[in-house]
Amino acid sequence: MGIRQMSYVNQRCGLNSRAARLCRPAMKIHFIAALCLIASLAAQAADFTASLDRDSISLGESATLSLTFQGGQPGNVPTPDVPGLQIVGTGNSSSISFNNGQMSSVVTVTFSVTPQRTGTFTIPPMVADIGGQQIRTAPLQLTVSAPGAATSAQIYSGSQVAFMRLSLPQNKVYPGEVVSGQLQICFRDDVQNEGNFQFTGMPADGFTVGKMAQGGTERTRIGNRVYTVIPVSVALTATRAGTLKFGPVSANVVVVMNGGRNWGPFGGFFGGEQKQISLASDVAAVQSLPLPTQNVPANFNGAVGDYSMTVTAGPTNVAVGDPVTVRVQISGRGDIDSLLLPDQPDWKNFKIFAPTSKTDLSDDLGDEGSKVFEEIVTPDDAGVRELPPFSFSFFDPNDGRYHTLTQPPIPLVVRSAGATPSPTILAARQPEGQAPQDIVSIRENLGALAQAGRPLIVRPAFAALQSIPVLAFLAALVWRKRTDNLANNPRLRRRRAVAQLVARRLEDLNRFAAENKSDEFFAALFHVLQEQLGERLDCPAISITQADVDGRLAAMGAAPDTLNSLRELFQACDQARYAPVQTSQELSALALKFKKTAAELQALKA
């Protein structure tokens, strides 16, 4: 191999630790080789040159200045300073080459040179110290010209990487008319990518420049090359009569060209070369005709275009001094944003407030859409019966004539200020399926004040109140169960009935004893004894015998004292048939004994 070349590009390189470990052996080798080379290079002849990649550029473009140091490392890198030129370092590279045993070292430092004005600039000689030698470069000249439009010959020859064309679709306009300037930005088919597009100049004489809108990209053949065409529309509003000019429009763009990979400082991600290009278009001129001075409507206020109008008003049933909102919507094509609501001289019986407006543009250029005015008017007296006709005049450049749109009068019902207002609900008045045109107007009364406080659902008292029906239901349920239980258990029912009878009879016994009514006392005592024993023994009361009392009560676990007490009570009842007269104290003692005995009987398990 005749030539071996190693190139080191100085770049900011972030290595992680693993990559750094992998790189260490290679770095050592390179370091040793560099030491050897530096020693051998010391004897090589030194040189220092400066060069521009081109000596003529347009304003807006950049040239590249390269400083090349041969035969050793420079002790200093001079930076030129030229008024009118912005010179910024963009990178450096170094290379060492071996050719048949001879070594050479080249260090290149590059600068981007961007002119700030047109003219011829001289980059003065620069001095560098290489291996102790002071070396001077030759001066360089750079000519900067104003950007100009590409000629047809240049375009059709395919020599232009990019160019811009401008046209106006009309040859006559009227002051106030909006026209659409058409710009075409064309990129040759070998432009891989473009970016940083920026308009640098858009002079307009007699036009107001409005919004811009980009159209769809298309490819077309121009001459012997295929170009990508990006159309851009510009809204231009004529401001005066006479000859109006637009352009030259100038712009800067950075393009990336197709081609071999270039890993230099301007090498892009796709490997193409980046270039900054200045574009300029021709000047487009158009004749602006003055607006006709004949048949000018009285309320014409400068609107130029093609419009339609709708007018609504509401509420239409008001008191004197109440607001009526008049809503005027003007739609169409023209300078929508600058439309003004014309004065209405016929609206004498109304107080008119300054209107508010809202513009709704339907296209990107802003020359089509609608503008809605809302004007508050208040009738001055109750004699007003209608909102007078509303008219709007404009000049249509398509037919060169003035037009007047007139809305018929809108009937109004105007009450005196003291009259009771009738409720009006705009929403209710809207026909089915039709969107409301405005908000419903304000209320005259404050209305019911809202109660402050937490919602009912989180108030403890309200929650506690809800337990009442639940508790009532549970109580009724328990009561119903007990009632049903009693109805289905005759023994239980009899026990309760006898208990109640015993309680009542005890009162009678005490009363009979106190009154010393012996016969009634013993009749009652005998009856209640029979009932109590019949209930306990589950047999008819009248069938109770002494044998039943002794045998069955003893079997139920009755105490001997209880049995004795029963016998004594029965005996007392028997004796009373023959000797009924007893003292009140004796009767009371018997009543007490019966009470005790009855309690003991009721305690027995049946």
């Binding site: 109440d322 508050i376 209305g447």
Partner: protein
């Protein structure tokens, strides 16, 4: 003693009447501003009344109108929403809220299913839901209690009681949903004409999405003067709380 109590009650009544008259005169003044087209002044006067603690559906409705006319779409929608919480069946409030919502640009919860359900539930206020559910609850238990007390009425009341239980169940479900929305779901209405939701509650956090005045967003969190919102399409971001009004706040 009785005389002192009477005097005290009279003083309270007089003070209340004076305050009411003052509020009514302020309200009328704000209405006059509105009629004269001084919408900003009208809105400020309505706001002053609201700040004094007086709240009514009509007051909020007029405030919404004034804000709308003054071009403050977010404030208008917030006021209409507050008014609709007090009077959910008011056709005017619903009409103006709908009209204002139609002016809102960009992302908003307007078309989300959640908001539609919330709109359906907001046909009644939370207290109205509560009262309706409580009435059905009482009637259902009352009927079953009557059937326990008078078993002979069972055959006649059983059908009605079942209908009432079903009604109570439905109303309680509606109440639960309405309460859930009321207590857990907050809406942030964007007040600024343009605002940018950021990825975190910091001024230098990355931009997530842009919203415009009047947009209604679901509130997910609030922290350090920032509100985390969702636009209903899965996009989440943080907005400074000065740019939004979180509802409900009645």
């Amino acid at each position: 003693m009785k005389r002192c109590a009477s005097i005290f009650v009279m003083i309270l009544l007089c003070a209340g009447t004076l305050v009411a008259a003052d509020v009514q005169s302020e309200f009328s003044a704000a209405n006059r501003f509105y009629a004269e087209g001084k919408f900003t002044e009208a809105a400020k006067t309505y706001e002053a009344i609201l700040k004094s603690g007086t709240v009514s559906a009509n007051l909020l409705f007029n405030d919404g109108n004034a804000e709308f006319k003054a071009g403050n779409l977010g404030e208008a929608i917030a006021a209409y929403r507050r008014a609709s919480l007090l009077a959910p069946q008011d056709a005017d409030i619903r009409a103006n809220l709908g009209f204002a919502r139609n002016q809102v640009q960009g992302p908003t919860l307007r078309n989300s299913g959640w908001l539609r359900m919330a709109g359906w539930l907001s046909a009644l206020t939370l207290n109205e839901w509560t009262a309706a559910a409580a009435i059905a609850f009482w009637l259902a238990f009352g009927l079953y209690t009557s059937m326990q007390i008078k078993p002979a009425w069972k055959s006649r009341l059983r059908g009605l009681a079942r209908v009432m239980v079903f009604a109570a169940f439905c109303l309680c479900a509606g109440l639960a949903a309405a309460a859930s929305i009321h207590f857990t779901q907050s809406i942030a209405v964007v007040l600024s004409s343009d605002a940018t939701a950021r990825s975190g509650p910091f001024d230098d956090a990355q931009d997530e999405f842009a919203v415009h005045g009047g947009a209604e967003l679901s509130v997910l969190d609030q922290r350090n003067g920032w509100v985390q919102v969702s636009d209903g399409n899965g996009r989440i971001g943080w907005l400074p709380d000065r740019q939004v009004r979180v509802l409900p706040e009645i």
